[in-house]
């Protein structure tokens, strides 16, 4: 087992990612609110469906509508506290609001977010979910809308963010996104060994470069397929022609051509040298295809099309504690798979093995 410490680390990290990634619960959140259009100037009862919530009359869930406006002086904001809250079950409650006749003058639009707070689950929001209709202009209702939002309960314990669209599938961050980051590291290693082979002509470098590229391509195919499965249940269809999807498909075709190129060469020597040179160019194309071009266009992926990179609700500090070990774990597993392949290739090209098979 000497020299196998990184394989042990790979196993430990993969188990950690699997268990932490699957077992840490999601934060509480709001799945649905109905009705989503309410008339101003009338009392309205909103039915709120929670996710991972523990509504309980004893814990006094509180519900607010909050308008999209700048925070007012003194920590208040435009919003409305529910006049009454009836808990129907751990996941469902009804909140009654008595709506003023008009909107405040400096409300940014006529949508309101729903905020729920309770002692067990902390505070959570569904942004801009309720449309306020039939508002009377110049109603002078600023005072009626001015509400203090304070005394919120902080949720305790380790949790992953709740996003209404993703639900539990946010955990794919550790199994789909990690794959792509590992692919980048494996392809980088492949390019480095390709360069070393070109400089030294040492066959071992070529075996490594080829095996790492092979493993990287496997990761790419897996990343593409897992992404399609994930997209089918979040973006609605497996292939939306999203810029990142298209560009990664092109990047994988470029790497597929590496193997076609090698196989088409007349001599092994030629296949190795041309392959190594092509590998360097393929890696030079991988970076713009995966990381630059998708950021210049609108994309469904986070971290693209002017979206901020990963952060905030997409990747909080708890997720990072699983995501980064995931990248290392997948990279080490990839190295392991690649090593099996390059050792096999080296064995096949060992003079004694060749001599034995040629007898």
């Amino acid at each position: 087992m000497k020299g196998a410490w990184w394989k042990v680390l790979a196993v430990v990290l993969m188990f950690y990612v699997l268990f932490a990634g699957m077992l840490i619960p999601l934060k509480s959140g709001i799945q649905a609110v109905s009705p989503q259009t309410v008339e101003l100037g009338q009392p309205v009862e909103l039915a709120v469906t929670g996710y991972n919530t523990h509504f309980d009359p004893a814990r006094g869930p509180r519900v607010w509508l909050k308008l999209n406006a700048d925070t007012l002086v003194g920590g208040s904001a435009y919003g409305l506290a529910a006049a009454a809250v009836v808990v129907d079950g751990p996941q469902t409650l009804r909140a009654t609001f008595v709506l003023p006749e008009g909107l405040p003058d400096d409300a940014k639009d006529y949508y309101a977010s729903v905020i729920v707070d309770n002692a067990a689950d902390g505070t959570f929001v569904m942004p801009s979910v309720v449309a306020l209709a039939n508002g009377r202009a110049d109603s002078g209702d600023d005072a009626a809308w001015t509400t203090r939002f304070d005394d919120f309960t902080a949720a305790t314990g380790m949790t992953f963010p709740y996003r209404a669209l993703l639900g539990e599938s946010i955990r794919n961050q550790y199994f789909h996104v990690s794959l792509w980051f590992s692919l980048m590291l494996l392809m980088l290693a492949a390019a480095v060994y390709a360069g070393r082979y070109l400089r030294s002509g040492d066959l071992r470098h070529d075996y490594r470069s080829e095996a790492l590229t092979r493993t990287g391509l496997l990761f790419g195919i897996l990343g593409l397929v897992t992404g399609m499965v994930w997209a089918n249940y979040t973006w609605g269809k497996p292939w939306s022609g999203d810029i990142k999807q298209n560009m990664t498909a092109i990047a994988l075709l470029i790497y597929l051509a590496y193997f076609v190129l090698r196989a088409s060469m007349a001599s092994d020597q030629q296949a190795r040298r041309v392959g190594a040179a092509y590998n360097l160019f393929a890696f030079a194309m991988l970076i713009p295809l995966l990381y630059i071009i998708p950021r210049m266009r609108e994309s469904l992926h986070p971290g693209a099309g002017g979206n901020p990179g990963f952060g905030g609700e997409d990747l909080d500090s708890t997720m990072r504690m699983v995501f980064y070990p995931g990248i290392i774990g997948f990279t080490l597993v990839g190295l392991w798979l690649a090593q099996l392949w390059w050792r096999t290739q080296a064995l096949a090209n060992n003079p004694r093995v060749i001599a034995a098979s040629d007898l």
Binding site: L18, M22, L26, Q31, A32, V33, S34, P35, Q36, T37, T49, Y51, G102, L103, D105, D106, A107, K108, D109, Y110, V129, A131, L132, A133, N134, G135, A137, D138, A164, L166, G167, E168, S169, R171, N172, F175, H176, L179, T215, L218, F219, I221, L222, V225, T226, V229, W230, Y233, T234, V333, L337, L340, W341, T344, L347, A348, V353, A356, S357, L359
Partner: protein, 82 residues
């Protein structure tokens, strides 16, 4: 001062006036709730994660199988000559 439309404050009131006709709201999350969720959408889409992990594992095992096949070939080559 200029026409009222140049003032953002009035722009908001116009927005509120538009809201008098029913705003575009399809109550999407309500529709999703009413439709019985299929297997992969049940329990917060957790089975999507299970499927993704399964695909990754299948990929690793296929890769192992390919290495094994290569080794078997080498073994046969060497053993034939003994």
């Amino acid at each position: 001062m200029g026409s009222p439309t140049t003032k953002p404050k009035n722009g908001v009131r116009e927005g509120a006036a538009v809201a008098k006709t029913k705003p575009m709201s399809t109550d999407l999350s309500l529709l999703l709730l009413q439709a019985p969720p299929d297997f992969f959408r049940s329990i917060g889409k957790i089975y999507v994660v299970v499927a993704v992990i399964a695909i990754v594992l299948i990929g690793f095992f296929v890769s192992l199988y390919l290495v094994e096949r290569r080794i078997s070939k080498l073994e046969n080559q060497v053993n034939q000559d003994e």
